[in-house]
Symmetry: C2
Amino acid sequence: MAAPVTQLVHAAPARPRVLILGGGFAGLHAAQSLARLAVDVTLIDRRNHHTFQPLLYQVALAVLSPADIAQPIRGILRKQANVQVLMDEVTGIDGIGHRISLTSGGQMAYDYLVVATGATHSYFGHDEWAPLAPGLKTIEDATEIRRRVLLAFELAERQMLEQGWHPPLNFIVIGGGPTGVELAGAISDIARLYLRRDFRHIDPARARVLLLEGSPHLLSAYPADLSAKAEAALIRLGVEVRTNAHVSAIGPGWVEAQGEQGSSRIDAAVTLWAAGVQASPLGTLLGVPLDRRGCVLVNDRLNPPGMPEVFILGDLAHVEQDGHPIPGVAQPAMQMGDHVGRMIAADLASKPRPAFRYFDKGDMATIGRRAAIAKVEWPFKAHMSGLPAWLTWLTVHIWFLIGFRNRISVFATWIWSYFTFTRAARLITGDQHLPGWQDQAAGSASGRAPLPPDRP
Amino acid sequence: MAAPVTQLVHAAPARPRVLILGGGFAGLHAAQSLARLAVDVTLIDRRNHHTFQPLLYQVALAVLSPADIAQPIRGILRKQANVQVLMDEVTGIDGIGHRISLTSGGQMAYDYLVVATGATHSYFGHDEWAPLAPGLKTIEDATEIRRRVLLAFELAERQMLEQGWHPPLNFIVIGGGPTGVELAGAISDIARLYLRRDFRHIDPARARVLLLEGSPHLLSAYPADLSAKAEAALIRLGVEVRTNAHVSAIGPGWVEAQGEQGSSRIDAAVTLWAAGVQASPLGTLLGVPLDRRGCVLVNDRLNPPGMPEVFILGDLAHVEQDGHPIPGVAQPAMQMGDHVGRMIAADLASKPRPAFRYFDKGDMATIGRRAAIAKVEWPFKAHMSGLPAWLTWLTVHIWFLIGFRNRISVFATWIWSYFTFTRAARLITGDQHLPGWQDQAAGSASGRAPLPPDRP
């Protein structure tokens, strides 16, 4: 009996199938690094767009529009013939059968799996804080923060107009890392420079911005001199910096912090979370060793133990180099993505894979309208601060923005915003009510007396 | 016994208080028309931004960003010293006591009340259709429509990739007025020109766009020759136009229409509503005579009967001129707003108020990328169509866009989009699931056979 024989004659030489999970910096660079190789690439993301996360806080604070810093992944990879893009979510990984499962019920086989699904906020076991103190990872997070900040000004103005007083207009940023420092500086800018002329009854200069950090210093990943300069620059902008302050509770309209002088409850019009990150849950699906934050422990070929066909990149990867973990920022993510192409090319040529080594060009954080700090490692070593660091920050961020049109548009918007003191994207969209604060204010829970109007 | 006497000596001469409800074209023009008069103006809107509604469909179809066509009302009126802006919602009007109530519990007194709160969608008693077939009046509506249209393409691509077939990718627009025609033309453009290169597995050219209109002609407010030209232009773009088609039911993934050949059910990936408008409920709060759509019947001084201190403007006003009601579009709204200043100035000078007369400069509707129709009334009378009408449309809409920066930004985006065939704002934000269609497709309720892949 002759069994049916399929694919014996003229079967096309099987091209390895590479599945990339995640369209952030790491996933996108991995896809692009494979452009000239004889592989078929599928990039899967649950969103249709790549987000330029370093500028997210500018969307949150009404400088830029979402479309300025986000681009459809399909559009970015349009010209690359060996990539297809799929908007879907992964629900399971079968590391032995080399298959993934998708929410839509489908399955896909892979020869190489690249996992670059990044990280999200961690509330350190207090997930109930999430609606009270949103973090900043997605476009939706950014428009939600924009909504809350602008709405707080509108409500204070309304209360002055209708009742002659308003509760404290405090903006509390929890976490003194780069995102927290950027948010605090930018809110202070908004209050002092941009909104002063728009609100006639409240005095936006009276809006307080508080930055709470649990450790003794802001920006603890930076050298001490830069960290101190950042703190001084924030204080010059009017930000109240409280270090050694541990947040113990968050409620609607307040934050409780434990500091050196004991515990205190601070009124909060808006509370923002920039304190912790945890890795995407895809590490768990793989069933491999993870670190405390859920990052996958990988070797210098970016493989988890015993899985040479799986690469973990970006914020999801825990890679040790010279005894320290590589930081979860954009630069190493891009370099890991680029390295995937080199390793698969080596496989196709039956050569040994090169080891990954992070080449650190430096790091920077911006503080408001005209200040930044930068630790430059390449092409020369330097610590920069103030205006020179800010100009460097501007140049680097424009340069790395995805897409020519976005670069022009963002540059034009910045120039406009800088010289006219206006912000282009001051839109309150979505729900027109602010959770917590307004109710608390109306109930006057803390029994405070009405404030007199600031201006006659 | 001497009673305390207040405000007898040196009391400032009381300046009339003008309350304007609504920051659309009519309310904004009313506020600006009062700039040089000795009155105190308060403009109240429940949103913080003015929306340039004629270009909303371009946000819905991923050409422009929300911030391109919406601006904070405070920003627009920043330089006008006698205006204050309040973000709040009106819950009651006391026409005898001359006071309004606000959601926040406060009350405000007025000497003049200007009501310009516009109109919203009408589902003709079928409000349950609203989530199935969104209309287009606000920025949130526009981003919701953008989400649904882009997501439908993503889902069809996903189904081709994972299952080898996809349900019909039909876009159904209900209502053949200017908004329906603009939406249908623009969706057809998206499918043919912009998305073709982005989706490798579905053939976007096979996406059908259907425009359903209950009456025998599209754009029934226009002269017959222009209406016929618009229909021909839509058909050239690939839109299937069905006139005399009455929608009798809408469900998740389908629309039932009754036409000349009886009733039929059409599969729908996305259904959009552009069929009816109804006036804002504020007319009801006034307790004055309304027309069928809820518009307030006013005289040629824009007053409801017996209320000379109340002016009704824009889409909320039913004004008869030469035996016809003035249409609910931007031009008469702006002119009514301007007229408020003239009438209050006459009052202040103790002169009779001038009558309002709508000066019709013409009207236009655009159909896709390079066609439009225009009925020009001034400075000359003409019927235009095709490219000349489209260039006129372009010029007029850029000119009337609020704000210098927005004009430049929109113009640059249009040039870019026109020559590169890309759309800048193709972001899917919010919920990443499409209601109805996907479920129906997965269940294959209509028992259709899987489609073969379009391309080998």
